[in-house]
Structures are given as structure tokens and as C-alpha cells.
Amino acid sequence: MKLEAPKFDESQNPNISHDTSHLGELRAMLGYLLLTILLVWLLVEAIVWSLPYTVSLQRERAWFSFVGKHLLADESIKHDPNMQELADQLAVHMNLPANSVDVYISDDDTPNAFATFGGNVVLYRGLLNRLPNEESVAAVLAHEMGHIKHRDPMRGMTRNLLYSVFAAAFGSEAQLHNLVHLESLRYSRELEYRADAEAVHAVVGQYRSAAGVTDLFRTLQTVEQEYKVAAYPTWLSTHPATAQRIEHAQTIATQIHATQTPAALPNRWQKK
């Protein structure tokens, strides 16, 4: 008798799956991935949509009351009664409840302004000094108040949180992060358009002319030239291109039959 190992039939190898193809598996996995993305996206949209109904602006302000204190802790950031008065006047035209916005002025030279949690708006001296008249200051203020009216800081945070959870689940899939990032940029631009629309409505309501908004965008264009902002494609930036924003603002101004009477009031916040 000759001893030898039994002949091995490869097609009967029990240790490997014979009926699976890698490409088929990849297709199935991509299908699952798409489904997951869709579900997360729907969940985010649902939460964002229901946010203004579930958390009132007043409650948001109560939760984030520390933000105002935190801002004032910075020596260069101060409360400005005149600006606050202007904000309260604009709030009336924007259907914002009284006392829903706190306005601060920062002495920083950056041409910028932002709205954050709890109805806090910070305007930078760098932008205020460049604006030619009160109407354009009101346009910036109304734009930021528009973000607060639409609860954009909360929306942004909710979306980012959920997307972070999603991204964490997929580990280091860098390409997925890129996609999520692009989507958040698109969303951000959408919010900017809405805030711009609010600004047009408020400025026209206050001054009977949309010139302030146009002046603001013109200032923004000079700032862009000054800082030599790289001409990124729109889909790569948080804000729409200024030219598109002007067009958008003018469309709305025409819709509400606003005049373009040149702005006349001096900029009270300009410091030479």
C-alpha cells in the first residue's frame, strides 16, 4: 500500500466562497452605503426642519446665554446701544420677536461679521469702517439677523454633529469626508441666499430703498479685491459669489417693488 495525501478538488474547497464575485460584492456594498447616506441625510433634514418647532429661539437663547458672556469677556468686543437700537428696529420688519438679538461690535480690523448661537451677532470694526452709509450697516446687521431668524447656527451644528457621527462610523474614508464637506458648503450657500433675502426685506422696510444692500455688496467686492481672495469655484466656498448675491438681491428688490434711491444717512459707526 502506498501512502499519500488525498487529491484535493479545488472546486470543493470549503474554506472559500465560490459563488461570490468581488465586483458584485462591491456593488452591494456601495448600494448599502448609498442607502445609509440617504437615511442619514433624511434624518438630518427632518431634524433641521423640525428644529424651529421643537426648540424656540427663546429657549435657544437661554441655553446659549453663556455665548454672550464669553464674547464680552474679550476686551475688544463691546455692546453698542446705537447698534442695538438699529437691530431692534430691523427686527420689527423681519418679524423677529423683541429682544431676540444681541449685537456686539469688535474692534478687530477684519472685514467680517457673524451670527452665532443664542441670537448673538458680532460686527467687526474692519467691516463697519468700510461701509459707506447707515443703510449698508443695516444690510449687514439684517443679513446676520436673518441667520438668527432661520436658526442657522443651530441648523449648522445639528448637521455637522450628525455628519461627524456618520463620518466616524466610516473611519478614515477621506473621500467620504470630502463629499460631506462639499454638501455642507452647498447647504451653507443656500443659507446665505436666504439671509440675503431677509436683509433686502428688512432694509427696504426700514429705509424704503434697497440701495443699502447693493452698497454692502460693492464694499464686499472691494474687500475681496483688497484681500485678493482666490477665485474659487462657487461650489467650493461657503458663500455664493458676490456677483451672484447682487443679482439675487436685486431680483428680490424688484419683486417687492423697492426703489434704488441712493442711501443718504451717514455711517455712525465709522471710526477714522
Partner: protein
Amino acid sequence: MDWLIEFSGWIITLVLLLIAFFTGNRNEKKHYESILRREEELRHIMVVLVRKPPKNFCNQHLVRGSVVISSNYFTRLLAGFRNFFGGNISAYETLLDRARREAVLRMKEEAAKMGSSMIINMKFETTTLGNIHDPRQQAANGTVEVLAYGTAGKLRKKEQSAA
């Protein structure tokens, strides 16, 4: 050209995936061909597990066969998906199957050089290669080492034992 720079990450990923898919498949096919051919050549060496070695088992040696084998980028992507969605990582099945059989073959080749006809009580050791100090990287390379070892020897001829 901006979009090209922006999407270069995607394009490189896609190209690497394609390369990995084709070279990976080709290498696997070639490896299986080699395994089947050598298994046929070394069939005269038996590998058995016994509690007590046969009385006429002589010329004993420790024989080892070890192999380090890596998955490709494409299978790692599939396995990464499986990490999230769960399920049978079939992409790694062939990897381990090949590694074990290759290790056994290398062990048998060593035994063949010594003129052995039988290996008794073979055992496997399997380990992943990666940074053992970082749990996330332990198997990040999808690289595995398989070691097969056993006692090789031959059966003394009956007439010799009788003599």
C-alpha cells in the same frame, strides 16, 4: 484645471483601486495555479494528526513553513465596508486559504528535502502584521503571517524493524 486638482484624490483612488483589482486577481490566480501544481508534486508526503506516533516512525525532524501574505487595496476596501455593514468577508477567505496552503507546502518542501514521507501533528500559527501598539493599525495592512510546523519523519520498513 481647478476641478482636476480638487478631484485628484478621487481619481488617484479610482486608479489605485483598478490596478489593485486587476493585479490582485491575477496574482491570486497565479498563486492558486502554483499551489495546486506543488500540492500534486508533494502528495507523497502525508500530513496526519496522531496521539501516538507509529512505533516505526523514525528520522524525526521539526519542519516549518511560514508565509507572509498581503491583501490588496481593493479587498481592503471591501473588508472595510464589511467592517461597517457586517457579513462574511469573502475577500479575505482566499487570502487565508492561500496562506495556509502555501505554509503547508513550504513545510512539506522542507520535509521532502530531508527525505521524509510523513509529517505528524502539524499545527498552524496565524498572526496579523501591523502596528501592535495601535489597535486601529493592528490589521490595517491586511497582512497575515501563517506558520505551519510539525514533525517530519519516515516509516521504517517492516523488514528493517524485524531485523
